[in-house]
Symmetry: C2
Subunit: 314 residues, 2 copies
């Protein structure tokens, strides 16, 4: 087991480049003024399937040898990874089996179905998810693609910051959300391999602060029933993401639910782009005034834009 | 009275370039598929003050000689032009007087105030607006900047399609909304002067079809109490915009309120950008299946992104 190196990240980038969007990097005079900093927003909310997850899913699917691929892929995420994996599998023409709790929101089922994912419902417990996925694997031989505890995923999530740095160099700080840790681990790993002095700060809802606590206590703290609007960040770190985050992330900070909703609304109103609550977490951190970013060049990875317009927090 | 020529448009572009955003041109595989065409979206929703109106206002304000400018500017629009004029006047350090009906939504007053506009309230009638503006002019000597019946405005609105064509050449068709006609007149004039074969099609709410009727009947038809969600398109053509539209716009089409709301939602959900109802009008036309755009390269000018998030139609 060896962490991905820079060439692994570059190879992932070449592998997925034909399929993913080169998402824009936007700036906002209004937010710059509010933060007293120069902000560069990497818009993964405009990524295929609406989130950076398309990068990892695409890399994993296109890394498979023909025989393995032909048996399909499976996951038991119900969020953006599920939609992204369905999207990537359809690109390769292989089945994607998505194990989903029976209480998953209709909008999430619809997203997976829109990309041709094959949904298997199960009871809403982790044990049921895992055993149902096992049963799918036993029946089909499909390859399990974990949403983040997988170097094929992490090395591909690293490509977002690679692109960001190509358009906004000399960043002093990069901010990104942390849930399971795939995105921030990839980000920190890329910056480490590029030998940059850029600081990497992970941002997390205070109501789901397991990564914050894990980082500071030096061991993985489970995420138990986190009550946050940032639905993409309710998961907990894994062995692979915790290892990379412990070594290469400079700090983890937390923000309140009110700050998340306010930051989301500010981005919608001032930047005219749709971000989901998870994306608003690093924006909230930048707006909080608590980060040492005044006068600095700050990259912010907007992780996704999948929201239910019929159920907004404002 | 002579219509602006290409050099006037180029001069306006040079004049405003230091102040406006070079807004992105986005594409969407999902919308391309729905329309069976290649769509290029010019994102004026991300323009300064949230709409293309910043172009015209900025050009008008920076065209003034020092002495005239020192007396300030005035308008009796309550929408995006009012906010844009306030923004442009602040850039030049001169007062912007905005005459607004007493029943204007709080969100519009807040926008004007956020840019330092000086609001004078009046009764909600056209006569009261005009007489109040006259009184402001008598008192201050401010220059009236009409939202569209002004070549300084029209030649600057033309710069949006100039930028669009720099990033997406060989467009077969350009679609834009028509209200007072400043944007579509500028667009058609630019394409005429560039000697392009690109068709220009204006799009209008069926519930505010005065431009459609004016175009087909050969004279300006007043817009009387139009009932459309596209609040930017309730105004009627003026002498200058009607003249240009009659000569250089190829067609005007209309869409229903339901189509406007559905198109707006589709753009929000699939492109992850916030557009206001007026911007959704040309998108609705493209999605309607009624335009001859299959297989073609189609530019769409997304005119603005100012919506009240507390009052959405979905």
């Amino acid at each position: 087991m060896k962490r991905p190196d820079l060439e692994d990240i570059r190879a992932a980038h070449r592998r997925i480049a034909p399929y993913i969007h080169r998402t824009p990097v936007l700036t906002s005079a209004a937010l710059d003024e509010m933060c007293e900093a120069s902000l560069f927003f990497k818009c993964e909310n405009m990524q295929k399937a609406g989130a950076f997850k398309a990068r990892g899913a695409c890399n994993a699917v296109f890394s498979l040898d023909e025989e393995t691929a032909s048996r399909g892929v499976v996951t038991h995420s119900s969020g953006n990874h599920a939609a992204a994996l369905s999207w990537a599998a359809r690109l390769r023409g292989i089945p994607a089996h998505i194990v989903m709790p029976s209480n998953a929101p209709a909008v999430k089922r619809a997203a997976v179905e829109s990309y041709g994912g094959i949904i298997t419902l199960c009871e809403p417990t982790l044990a049921a998810r895992e055993s149902t996925a096992e049963a799918v694997i036993a029946r089909t031989g499909a390859e399990l693609i974990h949403p983040y505890d997988d170097y094929r995923i992490i090395e591909a999530q690293a490509t977002a910051v690679i692109e960001l740095l190509e358009e906004a160099n000399d960043l002093d700080v990069v901010l990104g959300p942390v849930g399971g840790g795939g995105l921030i681990a990839g980000t920190a790993l890329a910056i480490h391999h590029l030998d940059l002095l850029t600081q990497v700060i992970a941002c997390e809802p205070a109501n789901a602060d397991d990564a914050y606590r894990s980082f500071h206590e030096g061991k993985i703290i489970p995420s138990i029933d986190p009550d946050t609007i940032a639905d993409g960040l309710r998961t907990q770190l894994s062995d692979r993401t915790f290892d990379i985050i412990s070594h290469f992330v400079d700090d983890i900070v937390t923000v309140s639910e009110e700050e998340i909703v306010a930051a989301m609304r500010t981005v919608w109103e001032r930047m005219k782009i749709i971000i989901e609550p998870s994306s608003a977490v690093p924006v909230a951190a930048a707006l909080s005034g608590d980060l040492p970013i005044v006068g600095k060049r700050v990259g912010i990875i907007l992780s996704g834009g999948n929201v239910d317009l019929g159920n907004l927090p404002f």
